[in-house]
């Protein structure tokens, strides 16, 4: 080692940069646990161990090791894991991204089978129906293209119009790829945004020069995003990530020259993480609720000890500003539809008083849908929060500054996401944001309204408490339903509802927007959507049903999907919905309804749904999931169910 000065300008200067995944905890004994997993006698035990290991912070090498261990286990399918076939089409080398995608998938209990197209052969692969891509039959197609092709054809002297023309042509071709990919990929297409690896030619003046490569990339990305929004293509925003982490963390000229790697290998773990966030979001597996600790998380200090005047919050102190920044971030999340909850070891009255009385509090008590402050075990409290909000425990993110509480939750409730908050409160927001727990693939009016709906639910709860019986409560709610076939106006919400609903979901079948569109155009397919209103407010579009004639009998309708938001459980909407479905079916000359119940790890709540509606079990045969039960309802014998819901009309 030389003098301190040489350390500054010396070797470290050349150290490779890479994106950090700081929200994940560090494994205590990575190699030991990896060995134990591989040595497991039972494949399922080994897989669980690897899935657990995957929830830790893994670097480039650890990611590859875990993937090799997974490969060694040779798992084809496993209970509690969702298989996904993902094809990656690229104009650069992407083989190094596959391990990271599989490992990040494991983190979300997705078993991803990655098919990497031949480098630069994506056009042929898309076109040729005999290509390995077509045979692979992917459920999602990811396009990872470099901007090189587009840039190389634009002269630096090009006018704005010329640049636009080239960009339009390039994006036009992309849209054609998307259409092809959609036909192959079951409708799910993910397009990676372009990474700006260009150099400056004029300095800051580049911004005024349409033909400057950086400007061309920016233009490309603008047009790409517009087109993707129109075409219902998901974006994988590596362009943004590379700006955030710094281009040197994502692109390494040496790797490009050595093997046409556009994504630097050391960025692979985060690349995989970002891809699987989208795959998970599309399957309704994103988190739904942010559970916040109070002392030293939402504010500095301990309210029970320091009192209202003693806690650190707001202007006047950097620490106070940092806690306030976390509150502001949480409030924005709430506005985009994330549910907020509090879980704190505190006296409830003292804790709630801060929300009412502290002048610097940004979050209000009314922003918090479930507020739990007591001296009990936080794991039990988290379960109570999930149950009160009618969501799964695995939909929770738990933010707590205490390493002890975090460890306790990770041990007892491994399905809860627990970000490894950094030591410095200045980094709390960034850590939470980087973790990407609330990745979305849509932003609907339901999302915008969710906060209001949860506030109204609190009113409903109060009404329930004051009622003498469930019947009296339901009667007092004065519920009404608006129903009708799916409409194009509300189609985005219908798709979101079907794909995000896990509990009241008879078959767990997922649909792309295109599939829904094509169902809507068919006269033999019955689609029904239900909006539930009551005297407190509009619960929104909360249920959807799709039924189509069976191949054998044109007058028998099979319910291939029926979902209902957990927000309206226990309101008898399933009864009224079935009354409506039966009437609609009768009008079409249908004599019987068939319902299938495909058990998943999450829909146990409706295991008795069909018998409760008068369906009788029939012989099942040939189901992929052997636990599936099949139920039939003879419409001539159907007795309408009683409910407290009146019909106010048919949706447009």
């Amino acid at each position: 080692m030389g003098s301190p000065l040489t350390n500054i300008v010396g070797p470290m200067q050349n150290a490779p940069l890479y994106p950090m995944m700081n929200w994940l905890p560090i494994a205590s004994d990575f190699e030991g646990e990896l060995r134990t997993a591989v040595a497991s006698e039972k494949q399922s035990v080994g897989l669980e161990k690897l899935a657990s290991l995957a929830t830790h912070r893994l670097g480039f090498l650890e990611t590859i090791q875990l993937d090799r261990a997974l490969n060694r286990l040779n798992v084809k399918g496993a209970a509690g894991f969702v298989p996904v076939r993902l094809a990656v089409l690229a104009s650069s080398t992407v083989d190094h991204l596959s391990p990271a995608m599989r490992v990040a998938g494991l983190r979300r209990r997705l078993l991803i089978d990655v098919h990497s197209g031949r480098y630069g052969q994506y056009r042929q692969d898309l076109l040729d129906p005999t290509s390995s891509l077509h045979q692979f039959a992917p459920e999602a197609v990811l396009l990872s293209l470099t901007s090189q092709e587009a840039i190389s054809t634009v002269s630096i002297t090009a006018t704005a119009a010329e640049v636009d023309e080239t960009v339009a042509k390039f994006v036009g071709e992309l849209r054609w790829f998307w259409r092809k990919a959609r036909e192959i990929g079951n409708g799910v297409v993910i397009q990676q945004t372009f990474v700006d690896v260009t150099e400056s030619f004029f300095g800051s003046f580049d911004r005024f020069v349409p033909g400057a490569p950086a400007q061309v990339v920016a233009r490309l990305n603008d047009r790409l995003c517009e087109a993707a929004a129109q075409d219902g293509v998901f974006l994988l925003d590596i362009g943004r990530a590379s700006q955030r982490d710094g281009i040197d963390a994502w692109f390494d000229a040496a790797r490009w020259l050595q093997g046409k790697f556009e994504i630097a290998p050391q960025a692979a773990p985060l690349y995989g993480e970002m891809v699987t966030r989208i795959l998970a979001a599309q399957r309704g597996l994103s988190k739904k609720c942010l559970v916040l600790d109070l002392d030293n998380t939402l504010w500095g200090g301990v309210i029970g000890d320091d009192g209202l005047e003693g806690i650190i919050l707001g202007s006047g102190s950097a620490v106070g500003e940092a806690h306030l920044a976390l509150q502001r971030y949480a409030k924005r999340l709430k506005e985009r539809g994330v549910i907020l909850a509090v879980c704190s070891k505190n006296d409830a009255r003292i804790a709630e008083a801060v929300f009412q009385d502290h002048p610097e509090m940004h979050l209000r008590r009314s922003d918090i849908a479930a507020f739990v402050a007591n001296w009990g075990d936080k794991a039990e409290n988290l379960k109570a929060i999930a149950s009160r909000l009618n969501i799964g425990v695995d939909s929770l993110v738990f933010v707590d500054d205490s390493p002890v509480e975090r460890e306790r939750i990770r041990q007892s409730l491994p399905m809860v996401a627990v970000p490894e908050l950094p030591q410095d409160v200045a980094q709390y927001v960034r850590c939470l944001a980087d973790a990407g727990y609330f990745e979305a693939v849509a932003f609907t009016s339901e999302d915008r309204d969710r906060a209001r709906q949860y506030a109204e639910n609190a009113e409903r709860e109060a009404l329930f408490e004051s009622a003498q019986s469930l019947d009296e409560f339901l009667c007092a709610l004065k519920m009404s339903v608006v129903f009708g076939p799916f409409t194009s106006i509300e189609q985005t919400r219908v798709v979101q509802l079907i794909n995000k609903t896990n509990q009241f979901n008879t078959t767990a079948r997922r649909y792309t927007p295109e599939e829904i569109t094509s169902l809507m155009s068919r006269s033999d397919v019955v689609t029904l959507q239900f909006r539930l209103l009551d005297r407190i407010g509009d619960n929104g579009l909360v249920s959807a049903m799709i039924a189509r004639p069976t191949p054998e009998h044109g007058d028998v309708l099979e319910i291939e999907s029926w979902v209902m938001s957990c927000r309206v459980f226990g309101r008898q909407l399933e009864f009224e919905a079935m009354n409506i479905a039966v009437e609609v079916a009768r009008q079409q000359g249908i004599r019987a309804l068939i319902g299938n119940y495909v058990p998943t790890s999450k829909n146990g709540v409706i295991s008795g749904l069909f018998p409760s509606l008068g369906f009788v079990e029939v012989d099942q045969a040939g189901f992929a999931n052997a636990a599936t039960t099949r139920w039939a309802l003879d419409l001539s014998k159907y007795v309408p169910r009683n409910s407290h819901i009146v019909r106010v009309g048919v949706g447009q």
Binding site: M12, A15, P16, Y18, F60, A254, L257
Partner: protein, 80 residues
Amino acid sequence: MRTDEILATCTWILRGLLFDDSIVLTMETRREDIPNWDSFNYISFIVAVEIKFAVKFKIADVESFENVGAIVRELMEMVR
């Protein structure tokens, strides 16, 4: 850092990368001596070594390392 320490670290990295604990590297080991150490895994190895030692190799060197010893000697230079 001593030569044998660097060699041991390189061995540890390659064992992890190829998921093969039987790998033994010496200063004379060449890529073709190790099963599955193809050009793709060679780049992966270089990346892992760079991260571990917080260094960057010159592409000219990466192209011309004739054996493990050459890599170790270059690392000795860089982490000195």
